[in-house]
Symmetry: none
Subunit: 203 residues, 4 copies
């Protein structure tokens, strides 16, 4: 967690630092990132960095926090309406919001990837904190669909949610990194939704 000194900075300065760090981590990954470049980019002194953050890891986790928070905010509209919608509608909504978010903040996804893949050591503690948030989302959709009696018999909801989560996360990453044409992309998305719906809906 950043120190109080960091929060005493103007929003402008804070944002500049966060941006520089995000760029650095996305470009080089955590291990090969380099504080010198971050402070040069954000035009603060090396010493100041350590007035704001405990260490490199502290900054990294701070970014993760921002991402998670912002992403959850993007989903607030969804939480107001999902109970009145069908599974298919909800699912498309969730997917679309996630995709828009990824489109608007592509680096957030990449950083998340870097993070979740590279650091089995960090991960336990972290997943414990954040994973539920993402999973919860799909859980809501699935539970609602279950209430609406849209799901196939004897479905194992927790695992199904994990499968969906995995599929969506990784497919999104593929889409972001491969930058294909919009048409190809829509095709993938459309197929993915059909795939998932086929997998979970009552025949």
């Amino acid at each position: 967690m950043p120190k109080q000194t960091f929060y005493n900075l103007t929003l402008d300065k804070r944002t500049k630092i966060e941006q520089a760090a995000l760029d650095e981590f996305v470009e080089y990954g955590f291990d090969n990132s380099n504080i010198s470049r971050i402070v040069a980019q954000s035009k603060i002194a090396k010493g100041s960095f350590y007035q704001y953050f405990e260490d490199k890891k502290d900054l990294y986790f701070h970014l993760i926090d921002i991402i998670v928070t912002q992403k959850m905010q993007a989903f607030t509209p969804f939480f107001k309406t999902y109970q009145d919608h069908t599974f298919s509608e909800n699912f498309r909504d969730v997917f679309q919001i996630g995709l828009d978010f990824a489109d608007t903040h592509p680096k957030y996804y990449l950083l998340g990837e870097d993070f979740t893949k590279k650091h089995p050591a960090f991960i336990r503690e972290f997943v414990a904190k954040y994973q539920p948030l993402a999973v919860d989302l799909y859980m809501q959709v699935i539970k609602q669909a279950d209430l609406n009696n849209e799901l196939r018999e004897r479905i194992d909801i927790p695992n199904t949610v994990l499968f969906i989560n995995t599929l969506i996360n990784n497919t999104m990453i593929d889409l972001i990194m491969d930058n294909r044409s919009k048409k190809q992309r829509d095709q993938v998305i459309s197929e993915l939704i059909i795939f998932i719906e086929s997998a979970v809906k009552r025949a």
Copy 2:
């Protein structure tokens, strides 16, 4: 590619080095891995390391090569029988072989993960070489199922294969890393197969 000197070593010594390297890379990842620990572990001199390998990267790629080769070998029985089996049978076979392989060599999976996630720079060249192998496997199963008229209408085979690939890879990793009870695990596997079958099979 390792130098000839490496292949001149006894199998024992080679294996020891490969084991030490595998452990190191799995524990620390490529960037934080450290040759000093590898040579200490495998009880060779630092200089010997450079008689065997060009550099750290060379060793890393050598391990990837081993993994890919061994994994392909594990699948050879499958290739002899898949044409006479149904989709469900084939799919379970493929999954089971993959799982057995992962069980026998859990670190291979983790290294592969480390590799495919971390190094966009290496990856293009490498994926070009190896990715088709893995994907091909599921492609075979799906195509065979299509011939058997087991698939749902208007299925987009290439994307479907990618989804399946993603699901299986990531789920396997989850299973390997989480080490749950055998019972929980079987439950996950069973659910995954149902999930995929539901997603692709004709109703």
Copy 3:
């Protein structure tokens, strides 16, 4: 070129580093010189070295720069008077200044030697920058002598200047390295001047 951080140091510290480097390079030559000794000698941290200089080569060239600059400064008085003097006077002046400089900074000569002899790769770019300065000096003297009609017939001035340059440089180095008695030395110098004068002056 040293980084700004180097120039931010006190003159004392800079000089200490330069001295240590000069000693090191003169004693061991560029290839066998060793940064650890330099930083130990100048009592700075290894890391600080790399805050001041790009790398070993950067420091080396910095010393060359100092030498060339200082040497040129030593000749400024000469440039104010040479037009009013005879060839013999000028030649003795130039020689004396060069010798005094070498006496005051014997290591400068040795470093220059090390430099010009060892690195055909560096040299082209560098000679292009500095060589003319040294040669020009003798060129001035000779041209002035020519204007004064002191030279023998059909003399080939460019080559003559090169011969003189060679003779003087190498003889100076011999004198510096051999440390003979002052008397022997004066004898050599006196003979060299006679030798050169005989070679170029009108009978």
Copy 4:
């Protein structure tokens, strides 16, 4: 000095090793030369190298020995005739022989250069051994000229010989390294001879 084992080798093998070493030393200089390349080039085992030579230096000095010996041989014809010739004739002879030798074995010159310039440490012992040979040559010419009463008054013969030696050595190196046109080269040589003759001959 090479060990007896080296001289037990066939001439072919010895020559191959010497050639490889010469190429290596000329290309990289002593410090950056590398025994691995030499043994690879001459197709002997690394261990054999140390059966033949004490160490790297031993090989290096062996080459110097070869060069000096061969060069002296090139001058034997001269020693048979110089007493019957004038100074100018002798001087041109000596110069021509030296130049032919340099033309035939350009690498010998470069190695000699590398040697004499880089290693003030070695040099004392070595110069003591070989320098006289080279200097002697010019000494013969000059002494003969003195006997013939061709030299200017009160000439200091030892120093004069050193000057001539310096001039010729360095000019030859310049010619070898700069590879100018034959015409330019002849011009330099011709001028150098005039320069030296003017410097030493009676008016």
